[in-house]
């Protein structure tokens, strides 16, 4: 059994990563991720783990250093947020194309401008298509668990893809929560040593990150897409193994009081907790409302999501980012496209909420569920914006 702890979630994330016996961390501090960088640096410099902590000059360098170290066979971690993630953007698809199992924590924060350091998902959504496996943690325990699981997923010979764990900035990173921290023995039993497919070594030269002419680039992209889609079954397998060892279950899509629900709220990340309180209150008032929480954003769990909402007429989607001038928020447009060919497709109402740290209260979810069943048109709307 792990140790019961009360700890700030960002610190716990760094502790969890240290349990994974990483070889290299290259992390550039940025609010609200900084505590991960600082604490991981402490752990390395106190000699608690045998790793290199690279003090790079930017996030572009941190992810590049991670790519190089990972290519040399190291187990590698980085973390970032907002502008830092935007600066990494150029390198993210290269890391996934090179099939390097880098693990990254993203302390989700609004993107400038105007400058705003608070939580939403506008930093991760522009990285949606970068070919990384993307998980969303709902609470501190999930941050610890997913951080450890990520290494096993990323390094699995049938996956070999980078994984990022979304951790809502402040709402998760800076909360002190009761959690269970696995012991070193437990993590060692779960997570084997990395066995790379290929490594850069002067004794056995090879080339990584090569050039593709137009006659092979499309085949390479198809191979990458299939690899990401196929990763889902390994992720589920690893989650089942985790449940056996630690007693905590993970699924690509989680349901809460969803059976017989007439309206289903959809969330990603920490807001699932607030939404579940709203569902409890509405159920008490006799309203048939349930909750669906997406934990695996890429590869998108199409079958699991469809199964979770089967029979429901109205889906109320919480989008914490928007596509300016587009058809709606990224989550709602994704879900709408899933159901386009289905005859009994649900109505999908899209609500832009909680941008740049705007509070989302229990009442907001109640309003959202009510509005979703009344809404006639197909447009998205801002919830909680002053008019």
């Amino acid at each position: 059994m792990g140790r019961r702890i009360g700890m700030e979630v960002a610190i716990a994330a760094a502790e969890a990563v240290a349990l994974c016996r990483i070889d290299v961390a290259a992390v550039y501090p940025i609010t609200p991720q900084s505590h991960i960088a600082e604490h991981l640096s402490d752990i390395v410099h106190d000699g608690r783990i045998d790793a290199e902590f690279l003090t790079v000059e930017s996030e572009h360098s941190s992810i590049s250093a991670c790519a190089g170290a990972s290519a040399a066979g190291a187990r590698v971690y980085t973390a970032t947020s907002s502008q830092g993630l935007m600066l990494m953007h150029e390198i993210l698809p290269i890391v996934s194309a090179m099939r390097l199992p880098v693990v990254m924590g993203v302390a989700n924060r609004a993107v400038s401008g105007p400058l705003n350091i608070w939580n939403d998902h506008t930093d991760i959504m522009p990285q949606r298509d970068c070919g990384w496996i993307q998980l969303f943690a709902e609470n501190g325990q999930e941050v610890i668990d997913m951080s450890i699981q990520s290494f096993k997923i990323a390094e699995h010979p049938e996956v070999m893809l980078p994984v990022l764990v979304n951790i809502d900035g402040f709402q998760l990173t800076h909360m002190i929560e009761p959690m269970e921290m696995p012991t070193q023995e437990e993590v060692d039993r779960f997570l084997p040593e990395r066995k790379p497919f290929a490594t850069l070594h002067p004794d056995n030269p090879l080339s990584m990150g090569c050039f593709n002419m137009p006659d092979i680039y499309m085949e390479t992209m198809k191979a990458k897409d299939v690899a990401l889609i196929n990763a889902k079954k390994t992720i589920i397998k690893i989650w089942n193994e985790w449940a056996k060892l630690f007693g905590r279950e993970y699924r690509p899509v989680e349901s809460y009081k969803a059976k017989d629900a007439e309206v289903l709220i959809v969330t990603m990340g920490s807001m699932g907790e607030t939404a579940s309180v709203a569902v409890d209150e509405m159920r008490k008032a006799g309203k048939k409302v349930g909750l669906i929480k997406i934990k695996l954003w890429r590869p998108f769990p199409v079958e699991e999501f469809k199964a979770a909402v089967r029979g429901c007429k109205t889906i109320a989607v919480m989008d914490r980012a928007l596509s300016f001038g587009g058809a709606g928020g990224p989550v709602a447009t994704e879900l709408k496209s899933l159901f386009y060919h289905d005859k009994d497709r649900p109505r999908i109402a899209d609500f832009i909420m909680g941008l740049g740290g705007r509070d989302v209260r229990v009442e907001d979810f109640i309003t959202m569920a009510e509005r979703a069943s009344e809404k006639e048109d197909d447009t998205y709307e801002f919830l909680g914006v002053r008019e």
Binding site: L100, F197, L206, S207, C210, I216, E219, T220
Partner: protein
């Protein structure tokens, strides 16, 4: 069976496009789209080797007698050698 030089289908693409035979780019001929080729006039050539130094493709070689020529499998016909050759021993000739 003859080994394939590079993958044809998406299933044949190595994870990460890793190339396990370093230096095999030399087996890939890249000179086919050249519009002009460099031709040396060895009567004017003073064997200084400036063409060899400046060739961005490193495709100019010295022969036994000390004269130079381009490997047309890789020469793109950029004309840098002709531009740099101060005795003007190199002329760019249209490919037909």
């Amino acid at each position: 069976m003859k080994q394939k030089k590079w993958p044809e289908t998406w299933q044949e693409v190595n994870p990460g496009c890793i190339v396990f035979t370093p230096g095999n780019a030399s087996t890939y001929k890249t000179g086919s789209w050249r519009a002009q080729r460099p031709v040396w006039d060895n009567k004017k050539c003073i064997k200084c080797g400036i063409c060899y130094i400046f060739c961005p493709e490193a495709c100019i070689h010295e022969d036994k007698e000390g004269f130079f020529s381009a490997d047309l499998d890789y020469c793109k016909g950029c004309g840098i050698c002709a531009h740099e050759c101060w005795p003007q021993a190199i002329t760019m000739v249209e490919e037909v």
